[in-house]
Symmetry: C2
Subunit: 205 residues, 2 copies
Amino acid sequence: MGKGQETRERLMDIAEASVLTKGFGATSIDEIIAAADITKSGFFYHFKDKNQLARALLQRYVDREDALLDDLFDRARELHDDPLHAFLIGLKLFAEMMADLPNGHPGCLVATCCYNERLFDSDVRELNRKSVLSWRQRFLTELENIVEIYPPKDDVDLEALADMVSGTVEGGIVMSKALEQPEVLAKQIMLFRSYAKLLFLPAYN
Amino acid sequence: MGKGQETRERLMDIAEASVLTKGFGATSIDEIIAAADITKSGFFYHFKDKNQLARALLQRYVDREDALLDDLFDRARELHDDPLHAFLIGLKLFAEMMADLPNGHPGCLVATCCYNERLFDSDVRELNRKSVLSWRQRFLTELENIVEIYPPKDDVDLEALADMVSGTVEGGIVMSKALEQPEVLAKQIMLFRSYAKLLFLPAYN
DNA sequence: CAAAAACTGTACTTCCGGTAAAGTGAAATG
DNA sequence: CATTTCACTTTACCGGAAGTACAGTTTTTG
């Protein structure tokens, strides 16, 4: 990584932490450059404006989350051949990971974008949409493998059910932040897991 | 309502619409006063600063949502004596109401506050916490009445389950906004309802 | 060593949140 | 009927933040 990329990443690290705790609007460029010990011109050499920073932040964020989920559910599939059990293990691992964050989940940039729409251009909105759709696709595939073996005990739209994973995480983060209780997020994921058990597992009656 | 109250409400109406679509940071006072046809000093006569506006907005918002949910679940209890069935009817009515919003749910001020922390003082954060806790209490009471009759088919923490209602709504709103598909929210509420059925209804096996 | 990359320095513009203080018309109050 | 209070307007100003312009300087790299 060249020196330019290094500085760029450093700026993004500082910005991301600030955006996730204070919101995008409350994160000033002056503050970022002070923390990064760089001049304003230096900042604008890397990002032509705040929108470009947002775009880069979101792109990096969704790439990382994607890689993280890939690892996690790959690992779950290594632990169990059956798609349902692998899914349930994956959810458990996910919940544990969320519970292990010492100060709670820092927040989700996707949600930040939703509640700060105006700050972002159509590129950012599109990127946001795509990332949510990729989560939908990821879990939909997983669920399709499950229903082939386990007929669901209630009439559910698999696409909506796939979205429920993302929704549970987004909602859980909001609840955790509002209540200032980090453990809420993990508990919500475990409740979704309980739903998956009741819906698919034959033993449950 | 005196003339002062009328102007105040008008300012809040304009501000609320803008905050929910663009976020708090992107909503400028200049823009509000232009739309309300009032001077800047006029605005600051009603609200001493932007924090006070946020506080008033959030208070009004949670009061309205509370009244709305009171009506809805009261109505559901009129339609069925059994607490579980009344709860399921209430959820259905809720989902229908969310589906009927022509342009989708405008967004939730509670979540807006979570993703704009810095803009708000501790009063606002406390108000936010209280409002989430009041939803928790509302649904917890409902669930306690249910478990007295219907033993749950999985080991769940009722408090977390009560929070899942709020979480589903918050998550559903984020998903709807990110995907630009208003129907997602109602579908998510119906999935939570499906979970409640599987968890409590004996007929399901 | 030369060129390109990665900045610094200075100066300026616009928008926004917020303050200060004097003034004004309408309506309530005594 | 006079006076006070309410609900503003007018004018002028301040500081912070985003962003521009552009010339100059250091650092890296081929």
